[in-house]
Each structure stands twice: as structure tokens, then as C-alpha cells.
Symmetry: C2
Subunit: 153 residues, 2 copies
């Protein structure tokens, strides 16, 4: 299956070391999602939503590995049990807040991806579909966020 | 960017007409997610989570269109303002409940994808990252689910 960027994500995060590990930790970090023409024609009605999913390519990730340490603790986990970028197919997923649309550009907050990341898709966050109220945090329960270590990713 | 299936999703839904439009409407529909070796090596710790995201290829979607009618009402929307399969890059996203793991197979419920759909990625649903408690339903507010029309997709 061949996928092609439909736009790019602009963010304040220029290096892996500076980039927050998930939107939750990105607080109000502001960014933009720029759609390449003609894909901006697919944005009608998007501004009715407060949140959207970004799907993007981890274009600067290290080689794929199936087990990895994580940003949160020192236990090795399966790559599918974490959100680490070094994963098969290298597709990232983030929920961000949609602030406003200006033509082919969406202004968002809570952005946690590297500047110039290739956008693959954008979907509305629909609470009825996407909010799992009884979801449990799995192995992330009780872990404390820590800054990235040097050279980690 | 080239992506390759890492497994396949088995579900009760053999035709587009029978397939529910989102997991929310799939109720307790049971399915399995089969990982092709060696990708099952990436599943360690996955069974600590109650919910997971499935990312998959819309392999039986009609040609891409940037504006479309939807399953929910008769207004034409931008493709990025809905979850319709006929989208650029054709990647689907669903939140499902993880029931248990048996080797390379995950048993899930709330499955809303066609049988034999190619799996591209699986990520843990982490409430701190993924549950937007103040998200609004956008244009889907107040719309009533309706059965699919003949020939629609």
C-alpha cells in the first residue's frame, strides 16, 4: 500500500529531544496543519469539531524494532503496547485541539510532533466513537512522566 | 511512503452493507486481530490495556473523493470532516475493546471493519493521551444513526 503526504505539520519542536512525548504533555503548544492543494477541498465542516486526530509519518524515526524501552519507564515493551515511533509502518497518531481554520491551514494546540512532519490523514474526533470512558491505562498506570534521556527516542 | 500489512482483522462483517459504521454501533461484535510473524513479537504488555486503536487499510473502498455524503445525514462534507473510507491514503481508525490475547491473536469486541481487512498498526488506547473529555461532536451533534442505504459506502 502506497501512502503520500497530503500536507505537513508545523510545530515548535525542531529536535527529537525537545519534542513532548504525547499531546497530553504538550499542553498548549501551538502548531499548524497545512493541507497541500487540492486536499484542502476535503476540509468543509471540519471547523465544527473541537478536536481532531492527526495521522502522520514518523519520518525521522530510527529503524523499526519490535520490542523497545519507552519514554516512561525502563521496562522493555512490545512496540504495539506503546506509542514509540520506531514501529512497523511508522504511522503516528495524536489527538489535538482544533482552534480555527484559515483556508488550507488548521491552527491546533497540544501538538506533540516534530516540525515538518508529513501529514497522512486527519479525522474528526467524535466522542461517541472515540471516547472510551472505561478505558484503563494498562502498564502506564502510576508511571510518572520524565524528561527524555539524551539520545533516546 | 510504503506500508505493508502486519496482520489481518477478522470480523463478522462480510459486506459493506452489513458493516456497522463505527465501533460505537458495533456493540459487542466480536472479532480477532491476527498478527503475522514476526510482528507478534511486538505484543508484549498489550494485554495490560482494556482498549486499543486499530489502524487498517480500507482495501475495498471506492475511489478517493474529497467531498462526500455520509452515513449519518444528507449533507455533503469534506472527507476530513468525516470517517468515510473513500479518503486519501485510505487508512481507517477504530477504538475496540481488548478482551484477551492468545499468542499472535487478539480477541476484541466492538469491531466495525470488514472481515479480512489488512492491519497496519495497533496502538494502546491511553486515557491520558486519547480521551478528550471536553470534545464536542461537531456536525454529528443530534444526528440519528440510520441504517446504510443500498449501495452506499
Amino acid at each position: 500500500v502506497e501512502v503520500t503526504p497530503i500536507g505537513r505539520i508545523r510545530s515548535p519542536w525542531l529536535t527529537k529531544e525537545s519534542c513532548p512525548i504525547q499531546p497530553h504533555f504538550a499542553d498548549g503548544a501551538l502548531g499548524t496543519v497545512e493541507f497541500f492543494p487540492p486536499f484542502d477541498q476535503g476540509l468543509d465542516s471540519i471547523d465544527t469539531f473541537s478536536h481532531v486526530y492527526l495521522l502522520y509519518a514518523f519520518d525521522r524515526a530510527s529503524p523499526v524494532r519490535l520490542q523497545t524501552d519507552t519514554f516512561l519507564d525502563d521496562t522493555v515493551r512490545g512496540i504495539f503496547a506503546c506509542r514509540h515511533p520506531c514501529r512497523p509502518n511508522g504511522i503516528g497518531l495524536s489527538v489535538v485541539r482544533l482552534l480555527r481554520r484559515e483556508g488550507n491551514i488548521l491552527h491546533v494546540s497540544g501538538i506533540d510532533v516534530l516540525d515538518n512532519t508529513p501529514l497522512l490523514d486527519l479525522k474528526p474526533y467524535i466522542p461517541n466513537y472515540d471516547r472510551a470512558d472505561d478505558a484503563t491505562p494498562g502498564w502506564t498506570a502510576g508511571v510518572t512522566w520524565r524528561p527524555k534521556r539524551e539520545g533516546s527516542e
